[in-house]
């Protein structure tokens, strides 16, 4: 098989996949009676038209990147983490607890401490499904989803009870939220008039950490081996259950960090709706980014764009913002199907044979003409 055919084949398949995804989305948009092309244009270009739009996209990129990095570690180790939503919520709780407990620590101490607390909270929540999978063979797909619901309840409990803003008790508005956290925890907003904060550098740094961990250490190699083929890894003397648990804890820790950063950089208090589906979007980002930090960064930007762009469609073209969830679902389905098509050598052979016959015919025609 010629190499040029291989690349052309791949490019054609990927273009077809993109078109399929857009077409499936278009079906839903048509059902809404919306202008399909205009909707896509609004989602993809409207946010990039001014400074605030771009920074808002970058703002959403931060938690998406961090969560997707964590999900990548788990996925590469053979365990699918769909519990990032819950792990993030737990990270927010532990971060808030630290910030409420030690409001007078200087920023240089408090911020790392709070982020570490977020990581610990997320890791603890990630440990449960990891342990259940490794020791009791409980499907992580089910246990993580259940833990999401449990975490959501715990989150509301803490925001309504122990962490409730004392001011809420006085005014009695009943909004479940903590008080404004100490200013010492604030991540600096470095562009005036926008919300973009230093958390973006944390995200970039963590991307580098994950790249080094997975591809440049024997520890990461063992995790990837456990994920690639559990059996082979076991024969190679790798303690697979141990790495499953550790991978899940790292994954949870990253979701927790995403929660801390989101609190310290954007909301500055624990409030309902911080996670807002980031845990699930993180899965799409990780897959779209090819489960590699270098791919995750642009993927996170792209999905930040989609999420922020979808917020605008309601106002501009009358398409509800939930549309972004539809697109994410479609993108997952199309990616997994496309991966299988690309990995199928028989299909490619058949395509090449077909192409050759067509091409060969053309050549003979030309010869005849000549």
């Amino acid at each position: 098989m010629t190499k040029s055919f291989k690349t052309r084949y791949r490019i054609v398949i990927i273009i077809l996949a993109v078109l399929t995804a857009m077409l499936l989305g278009a079906i839903i948009l048509l059902a809404l009676g919306a202008d399909v092309i205009k909707t896509y244009l609004v989602i993809l270009t409207e946010p990039l038209k001014n400074k605030i739009g771009v920074t808002e996209v970058l703002l959403r990129m931060v938690p998406l990147t961090i969560i997707a990095l964590g999900i990548t570690v788990a996925y590469r180790s053979g365990i699918i983490n769909i519990g990032a939503e819950g792990q993030m919520a737990m990270g927010i709780l532990t971060t808030t607890a630290v910030a409420l407990g030690f409001p007078n620590l200087p920023s240089a101490v408090l911020i790392p401490f709070a982020i570490l607390a977020g990581a610990v909270g997320g890791a603890a929540w990630g440990f449960i499904p990891g342990f259940l999978k490794a020791k009791l063979e409980v499907s992580e797909l089910l246990s993580t989803v259940m833990l999401n619901y449990i975490a959501a309840q715990l989150y509301t409990f803490f925001l309504r009870g122990p962490m409730l803003d004392p001011a809420e008790l006085v005014t009695g508005s009943g909004t479940p939220q903590s008080m404004r956290l100490t200013r010492n925890i604030d991540l600096t907003r470095f562009i005036k008039g926008t919300r973009i904060h230093t958390g973006i550098f944390i995200a970039l740094g963590l991307a580098l950490v994950i790249f080094l961990l997975l591809w440049k250490t024997s520890f990461g190699y063992k995790m990837r081996a456990a994920g690639a083929s559990e059996r082979a890894a076991r024969y190679g003397g790798i303690n697979v259950p141990k790495y499953l648990i550790i991978a899940m804890m790292i994954s949870g820790a990253f979701a927790g960090i995403a929660g801390s950063v989101e609190i310290a950089g954007v909301h500055r208090r624990a409030i309902e709706g911080v996670t807002s589906g980031y845990g699930f979007s993180g899965i799409v980002v990780a897959l779209f980014g090819g489960l590699h930090p270098a791919g995750i960064l642009p993927a996170a930007f792209f999905f930040g764009l989609l999420i922020y762009g979808a917020d605008m469609t309601q106002r501009l073209v009358g398409v509800p913002a939930n549309m972004v969830q539809v697109l994410q679902g479609i993108i997952i389905l199309v990616i997994v199907a496309t991966k299988m098509i690309l990995a199928n050598p028989y299909l490619m052979q058949r395509a090449e044979a077909k192409w050759n016959t067509l091409f060969a015919k053309k050549q003979t025609h030309k010869e005849v003409e000549a």
């Binding site: 839903i28 059902a31 809404l32 699918i80 769909i82 449960i128 259940l132 009791l136 063979e137 409980v138 499907s139 797909l141 089910l142 246990s143 989803v145 259940m146 833990l147 619901y149 449990i150 309840q153 715990l154 509301t156 409990f157 309504r160 009870g161 699930f280 899965i283 799409v284 897959l287 009358g318 398409v319 509800p320 939930n322 549309m323 972004v324 969830q325 539809v326 697109l327 994410q328 679902g329 479609i330 993108i331 997952i332 389905l333 997994v336 199907a337 991966k339 299988m340 098509i341 028989y346």
Partner: protein, 330 residues
């Protein structure tokens, strides 16, 4: 929704015998959505397909189910027949989505776990998007009301427990022996079990593995859609984004718990919803206890049950989650 029910439980009131009766009579209709969905998922898994998208299919079903009577009635009274039209539409679209999922995981052989998450997001997202566009805010509908069975419903205690429900409750419980019969006593059921346990052997005797898997997916999808429509038409009598509340995932868990057997699955669904009814009844008693911990109980129960149940696939589909490829050796 949940608190309307607990108020109801409260007004019927009392403790002791009445309290137990309340839990039981709440728990039985509550179990229907789970029961139908997990029976559908059982057919999927028996055929070797792990459909994690059940939640999404249920969300679509719940939305479409309520859309029909809502858009025809626009707040006015509609003849009951339109409710049933909603149920039919929901199961039809569920079946189509099941086939679509089949295209991804059977034809293209994509990994089923992650594809299921995609289907779930697609279903929940689409239901939410269409709901906002066509309905807008929370709108309650008359829905399908209780249809006591003449005569039988007059029996004290047993009558209120078993014969005083909406028609779908009876349908759901008739589905259990029906599913048993289809799965274990018909040629099609045998084919389903064959492609889920030994697809290669099934293939060698001329069973079209992928075709049977598509059929099972269509059936499972239709049942998931129906289960969703039950929630919006019979149980909550409205649609909201959180209406499914993880029931799709719980249904998948129940299939494991029930070892792919209809009767055991029914047991699991009942056990589970009785726990939920107990939770609501306790909330109704007004005991000062953070209700969040009561709400998380069912989900906690699923994890505990999964942790304790046997994991062996011996009695079930050994080819679960493995795509079939004629061209491969293993």
């Amino acid at each position: 929704m949940e608190y309307i029910i607990c108020k109801e439980a409260d007004s019927q009131g009392g403790r002791g015998m009445n309290f137990v009766m309340n839990i039981l009579s709440l728990g039985i209709p509550f179990s229907v959505a789970l029961l139908i969905a997990s029976l559908g998922e059982m057919f999927n898994q028996r055929a070797g397909i792990f459909n994690l998208g059940c939640e999404g299919l249920m969300a679509m079903g719940a939305f479409l189910g309520m859309l029909v009577p809502y858009s025809i009635g626009q707040g006015h009274y509609v003849p009951g027949i339109y409710n049933y039209l909603g149920l039919i539409l929901a199961s039809g679209v569920g079946a189509l989505l099941g086939l679509f999922f089949g295209l991804v995981v059977v034809t293209f052989r994509a990994p089923q776990g992650i594809a299921g998450i995609g289907l779930q997001m697609f279903g929940v997202g689409t239901a939410g998007t269409l709901f906002r566009h066509f309905v807008g805010g929370t709108q309650s509908i008359p829905g399908i009301s209780v249809a006591p069975i003449p005569g039988l419903s007059r029996i004290p205690v047993l009558g209120t427990l078993f014969f005083n429900h909406n028609p779908m409750v009876y349908v759901a419980f008739i589905m259990v022996p029906l599913a048993y019969y289809v799965l274990f006593k018909t040629p099609w059921g045998l084919r389903v079990r064959a492609v889920g346990t030994q697809p290669r052997a099934a293939d060698s005797i001329g069973i079209q593995v992928n075709k049977v898997r598509f059929q099972a997916l269509a059936l499972g999808g239709a049942m998931a859609g129906l289960a969703g429509a039950y929630l919006s038409l019979c149980q909550a009598k409205m649609f909201s984004d959180e209406i499914i509340a993880g029931r799709g995932f719980i249904a998948v868990a129940l299939v494991y718990f029930g070892h792919w057997h209809p009767v055991k699955i029914m047991g699991g669904a009942l056990l589970f919803t009785l726990a939920q009814a107990l939770q609501l009844a306790i909330q109704g008693l007004g005991i000062d206890f953070p209700y969040e911990f009561l709400v998380m109980l069912p989900y906690l129960l699923v994890i505990i049950v999964l942790a304790l149940s046997k994991k062996s696939l011996l009695m079930g589909p050994t080819a679960l989650g493995k795509p079939f490829n004629r061209e491969m050796r293993t």
